[in-house]
């Protein structure tokens, strides 16, 4: 069974802080993704990675960066958190030939005050 874990379920940070969200998967998947989920907007892709040290911008990369130093771990970084980054953040992974078959973590609800 694929397992995707995220470092925190709930996180509260102050405006201007640097925030790290960690994601780990245990199925040796090449692809990993970061989404944010907002009511009425569904899931929006922030960044994805198809291999170690590789990354591609998604639909809303502004204000975010990512790091993938190891295959199993994909980190999302908010360089200077702002209140409009308050959201649910979801991490996912997939096999390389089945990008649509994504396995999601439980999410991190981030509140920036």
């Amino acid at each position: 069974d694929v397992k995707v874990t995220q470092s925190s379920r709930y996180l509260v940070k102050r405006t201007g802080e640097k925030v790290f969200l960690e994601c780990v998967q245990d199925m040796d998947h090449e692809n990993m993704f970061w989404y944010r989920q907002d009511p009425g907007l569904g899931l929006r892709l922030i960044y994805f990675s198809y291999d170690v040290k590789m990354k591609e911008k998604g639909d809303i990369p502004e204000g975010y960066s990512v790091s993938r130093e190891k295959k199993e771990r994909f980190s999302l970084i908010l360089e200077s958190a702002s209140t409009n980054q308050t959201s649910m953040y979801l991490c996912a992974s997939s096999p390389p030939d089945r990008t649509y078959e994504q396995y999601f973590g439980p999410g991190t609800r981030l509140t920036v005050t």
Partner: protein, 112 residues
């Protein structure tokens, strides 16, 4: 560019009644279509997928969806819902191995 539209943000339905959650897609080329489900306080999980072949696709927990190319739709159905089906359902589209685009979600509320 590809996109999906979920016409209903919330659908209340009584337990044991049938339900249909609507999804329309937009793409100039052939696409793959999916439904994902998100139970409360959990991540999303794949419910069913259409890649090719039969237009009627069966998924987990008794759900099915029908791909209709002429109407560019991929509606999700279940003949009899249970309380445990209460969740948010996301329609999604992709072209081949490219990224998946998700709809805005439909919250299914099953009323006892």
């Amino acid at each position: 560019a590809q996109s999906v539209t979920q016409l209903d943000s919330q659908v209340p339905v009584f337990e044991e009644a049938p339900v249909e959650l609507r999804c329309n897609y937009s793409s100039s080329v052939s696409v793959y279509l999916f439904w994902y489900v998100q139970y409360p306080n959990q991540g999303l999980q794949l419910l069913l997928k259409y890649l090719s072949g039969s237009t009627l696709v069966k998924g987990i927990n008794g759900f099915e969806a029908e791909f209709n190319k002429s109407q560019t739709s991929f509606h999700l159905r279940k003949p009899s819902v249970h309380i445990s089906d209460t969740a948010e359902y996301f329609c999604a589209v992709s072209r081949g191995y490219q990224k998946v685009t998700f709809g805005t979600g439909t919250k299914l509320q099953v009323i006892p």
